[in-house]
């Protein structure tokens, strides 16, 4: 199977949240409680154990390039966020049970019958995507609709997206399409547009995302980390430090036993 993924073009997202609803329905996810966050039109707030698509509503006192408004500087940014299915996935590399696997579609999948809820993936995801469900005790996140892919269908969110802001398909083809779209935007004067996580060169810490984005402002504006790194990539200095510390402890034990001998 070829690698598949999402290209989320935030410039054409209209914030309808059809993706959130379609995801909840197809995957039969429980609700998160009726909360009012008080921040813009976003009462979903974040991705989580039972929220696998989340639409961010960003209100900026900054105009879009070429935009003219009647009341001064203001613009909306909308983005449907999702698990990135990283090429080097922090959660997968941290999982001690082998519950988190890479599928034949190159997606990252949590096997619910294996996960024992240790919680290590939760702190190892540099995007804060995966979480443990309290009533259930296991870790959950976007499956890239593994069951639908098996049946030859596209994921529910992409299917439901009315503007094709969420595009699903063969990863190489998506990247070509994204580059074409970026070029076109730049040609039309939207020079701030850029691709987030489309390749390993742009995001070495994850070696590229299978769900990448076209954004119009800094990653932080969308609550995305500017330079995410899969924790295991930086593990070596920690293990080296531990080796020295542990040898120090053994030396201290030898020293203590020998020093105790005198007097």
């Amino acid at each position: 199977m070829a690698a598949v993924g999402f290209f989320t073009d935030t410039t054409i997202c209209i914030g309808c949240k059809a993706c959130e609803v379609a995801c909840k329905e197809w995957n039969q996810l429980p609700d998160d409680g009726l909360r009012f966050t008080g921040m813009s039109y976003d009462n979903t707030a974040a991705l989580g154990a039972s929220t696998w698509r989340h639409v961010s509503f960003i209100e900026r006192p900054v105009p879009l390039t070429g935009q003219e408004t009647g009341l001064g500087d203001f613009s909306w940014l909308l983005q449907s966020d999702v698990c990135k299915h990283c090429h080097r996935a922090g959660c997968l590399e941290a999982c001690p049970t082998g519950a988190i696997i890479r599928t034949e579609f190159d997606s990252v999948y949590v096997q619910p019958d294996i996960c024992n809820g240790c919680g290590y993936c939760v702190v190892s995801c540099p995007f804060g995507v995966i979480d443990r469900r309290e009533d259930d005790g296991r870790a959950w996140k976007c499956t890239l609709c593994y069951d639908r892919l098996k049946g030859g269908m596209e994921p529910a969110c992409a299917k439901a997206c009315p503007t094709d802001s969420i595009q699903f398909g063969d990863l190489d083809e998506l990247k070509d399409r994204a580059r074409g779209r970026l070029e076109r935007l730049h040609r039309h004067g939207v020079t701030e547009a850029y691709l987030y996580g489309a390749d390993a060169a742009g995001q070495p810490g994850t070696e590229g995302l299978n769900a990448f984005f076209l954004l119009l402002d800094k990653p932080e504006v969308y609550n995305l980390p500017p330079d995410p790194v899969a924790p295991a990539m930086e593990a070596k200095p920690a293990w080296t430090s531990m080796a020295f510390a542990v040898l120090g402890m053994a030396a201290a034990a030898v020293g203590a036993v020998l020093m105790g001998r005198e007097s």
Partner: protein, 320 residues
Amino acid sequence: MTFVWRDLPSHSFSEDEPTYYERPVLKEPVWIWAVPLYFYAGGTAGAAAVLAATAQALAGDELHGLVRTCRWVAAVGGAAGSALLIRDLGRPERFLHMLRVIRPTSAMSLGSWVLAGAASATMGSALLSDHGGLPGRLGHFAGSLAGLLGMPLAGYTAVLLGNTAVPVWKATRRSLPHLFIGSAVSGAASLFGLLPVDLSPREVRIVERFGMMGKVADLAAMTVVEHEADRIEPVGRPLREGISGALWTAARVLTGASLALSLLSGRSRAKRAAGGLLGTAGALALRFAIFHAGKASARDPRATFRQQRQPREAEANPQR
């Protein structure tokens, strides 16, 4: 001109250092109190197993009491630690899934294997080594094995925290192992002061020296950890503020007081008990401080953003 959106959340939008309505980027660790308690139990067990194996190898016949006590401390620590970790799981009945695979990229996977081995070896050595003949020899062999496995047992938990996305743990991944090992030695030696066991004066001296080295290493490593965390301002903040900051200060004061007490002359039972109490409280406070600092750090989006931005900007402007 009046701006209708002055009162909207976007009013707080900062172009220089934006966040998404101050919401965290990362998920807070889901672990409960059992995890920092395990850090203490596993560290104590590891350090005790190392001391037991060393004493056995260098002067086994003369230090019989010390070896025996250390082995029981290690055995109880290993068993209690395993129980605490199972208690923390979302699905405790599936704890054996930890031994389904070996994943070298996961400190928790490697640590689970170390714990499984160390807990078995420490229990075996404690139960068997008092017997004569083959069981006794097996017990001593298990004790040596426990000494070897006790080393990573006391230290891997620091690597486990360092290899996460949580800013304060990630920033201190080089110094955290030294801190955890120092605290493990200090904690194990302190526990001896509280146990109702009769050790010979020589054995008391050994434990005291061991503990002093641990406390000195612990206090020195605390300073290095602070320095590493403070390189990026919001990353080091949890070690100064809030519950974690208070626990961090408490750990320093308690361990420092315990060290000062052991430097005073005299080896009375009461003095050792007081030093042991202070040292144990210090070791516990330290693990809870690091644990809560991680929770606070994960909640702070600026810690995450600046930690990732700063090295990039330093690279772009090398003169600064």
